[in-house]
Amino acid sequence: MNRSGFWFVVPFLVLYAAFLIVPMVIGLGASVTDEGITGHAGFVGGANYAELFQDPAVWSSLGHTLIFTVVSTPAIVLVGLAMALLANRATPERWLYRLAFFAPYLLPVSVVVLIWSWLYQPGFGLINDLLTRLGLGEVGWLSTDGMAMTSIIITTVWWTAGFSFLLYLAALQEIPRQLYEASALDGATPFQQLRRITLPLLSRTHQLVIVLQVLASLKVFDQIYLLSGQGGIPGVRSIVQYIYESGFTRFRIGYASAISYVFFALIAAVALLHFRLTAGKGAKR
């Protein structure tokens, strides 16, 4: 048997084990202790798990994460698709669309948040300034929980829609020209072409984009943490942020590990569900 392939994978496996497998095992061990940051750890059994199911902050932050995911995922998918359809038209300025739609995705999160926190400023921020000039009232973009979540989602869509845009654009270019030409000869309108040819042929991409986006949205942390600023906004805190706070600002590594594992189980369930759904489809074909 040819073992040479194995040695090519070794560097990856070493890193994978050191930074993923080993920490996961350590985390599982820590979740049944009262480990703090100074290394002391005593076995507490399921106490952390029992506590987290009683902890309202776990449920509220999980709720914020789910709301974020449920609202932002369709928005990102639809905006990405719309941008891809627009940029795929054979117009002279399409290079500009491609650049403009994808550029935000290349920005680091800190830059994105910096830009948007200035846009959202009360009083002199670009958006509120515009609203006042138009004779409309100011909006406290980050001052109430509901608005803050909306603002975070708007920022996220602007930032990451470029990724689904890219996937859709690539998929659109895979669709053979002839299908459109033939249907045009048969008298199909552009809208019929979109409904009957483009969207059905994108179905695999829809799946891919939606799964990637759901997983990315569930892990949301950076933009919420940064946009909430000093002290944070408890009304938009995500579950990952709560895990971070429990472990690193409240020094409860054991408890944070337990929450991580519950959240991990949730994500694994989502992944498994998707696997079952797509596997079923594959068998039918």
């Binding site: 009262d34 480990e35 703090g36 940051i37 100074t38 290394g39 002391h40 005593g42 009360p122 009083g123 001052s143 000093q230 002290g231 944070g232 906004i233 408890p234 690193f248 600002t249 409240r250 020094f251 409860r252």
Partner: protein, 400 residues
């Protein structure tokens, strides 16, 4: 390798070697602090003025700073010297994140208890050992606009007439206008704690006294415009409010804006003078292999820095080091010296692990009390909320 990765890799190598070069020179003592803006430049000035070489690193204020400091100390390779809000000591010292000072070493450098206000020195001790050397006391104060308050007839010989009791306070705020940070800020907690401790409220929480304080805050909120701190500073700085209720650290802003203002100590509303305060203090974060020689140098540097605290006082803070606080140079520093009495009345956060600057208690309670000031929550409902918060924090196992 495409061009982009090539450039990125080149930059990474350059940064790595650059950082390596910075580390290999003769090193001073590593010193972490959380001072930016005016406080940052005054601290840089003090560090430059002393003989001991300190390599100062400034980190973002608040939770990020304390997270990083705790992580560094937990790893045992912390900086030689760091700033800590004294109110955070109960969350740090019992966990072994700080190393105690050697009392003989402190005495040798003139850092003795009699040279610091008792209110803060007591809080620098844990289990009979000294864990912190206070640099300042920074209390809440009452800023007032001399023109607006003059027109409202609230001045006497150019100074604010003493305000005593709820009615006089509300009357004064009603006449001259109050700017107050109430939204998304810990300021409401500080106001509450002041009013609670003025009634000699004990522990967390005496229902009747807490309710009295909350009811007053509700009435005060009705006289003030509900804003965040930036807006409140702007309102007072531009002469649109006669009073501004916050910490003395906002003082340089108004001096720069040439606002006609003066500062009074926080008025005594109830039975005893008391005001929420905190203290920036010097600590030795835990090092696994502590070098006695470097530690001695660190203590020498602390003695030199507190000796420079007249520079620090320009930012509004009251020097903790009494040889400076009682010097004529400080007594002539106005308006700072006007509220120096506050150092003796300083009420830090309760000495529990979940309290202190940028803590859970401050942000949770701040949000509740902010809602009372904003008129969206009744004092009775807020009391229930506060008690629930305290109960939740008390029931959380303290970290180890």
């Amino acid at each position: 390798m495409n061009r982009r990765t090539f450039i990125l890799a080149g930059m990474a190598v350059a940064t790595a070697t650059g950082a390596g070069a910075a580390c290999s020179g003769p090193t001073g003592l590593a010193y972490w602090n959380l001072f930016s803006g005016g406080d940052g430049s005054r601290m840089t000035e003090m560090v430059g003025a002393i003989g001991t070489r300190l390599d100062a690193v400034t980190l973002a204020w608040g939770t990020p700073y304390y997270t990083k400091l705790a992580m560094a100390a937990a790893g045992g390779r912390a900086p030689d010297l760091a700033i800590l809000h004294l109110s955070r000591l109960p969350g740090f010292a019992p966990l072994g994140l700080l190393d105690p000072f050697d009392d003989d070493l402190l005495v040798a450098h003139g850092l003795t208890p009699d040279r610091f206000p008792q209110a803060v020195w007591n809080r620098a001790r844990h289990n009979g050992r000294t864990y912190a050397v206070p640099l300042d006391t920074h209390p809440l104060v009452l800023f007032y606009n001399t023109e607006l308050c003059g027109k409202a007839g609230l001045l006497q010989d150019g100074k604010l007439k003493p305000i005593r009791g709820e009615r006089q306070l509300l009357d004064a705020f009603g006449k001259a206008g109050l700017a107050l940070a109430a939204a998304r800020d810990v300021n409401p907690w500080r106001l509450f704690w002041t009013l609670y401790r003025q009634q000699d409220g004990q522990g967390l929480l005496d229902d009747a006294k807490a309710l009295t304080a909350l009811r007053l805050l509700q009435k005060i909120g009705a006289t003030a415009r509900f804003t965040d701190n930036n807006a409140a500073v702007a309102l007072f700085g531009s002469g649109q409010a006669g009073f501004f209720w916050n910490g003395e650290w906002e003082l340089p802003t108004f001096q720069e804006q040439h606002t006609p203002f003066d500062v009074a100590p926080f008025p005594q509303i109830y039975d005893r003078p008391a005001v929420h305060a905190d203290s920036h203090s010097f600590v030795l974060p835990h090092q696994r292999d502590r070098d006695p020689e470097r530690t001695a140098q660190t203590v020498a540097a602390i003695a030199e820095l507190v000796g420079q605290s007249l520079t620090w006082a320009r930012g509004g803070h009251i020097p903790a080091y009494q040889p400076v606080a009682t010097s004529s140079a400080y007594l002539n520093l106005l308006p700072q010296a006007n509220y120096r009495s506050a150092a003796a009345e300083a009420e830090l956060d309760p000495p529990v692990w979940f309290a202190g600057a940028a803590s859970d208690l401050q942000s949770s309670a701040g949000a509740t009390i902010g809602a009372v000031l904003g008129g969206t929550m009744s004092p009775e409902a807020a009391l229930g909320d506060l008690k629930a918060t305290v109960m939740r924090l008390k029931n959380t196992p303290s970290p180890s």
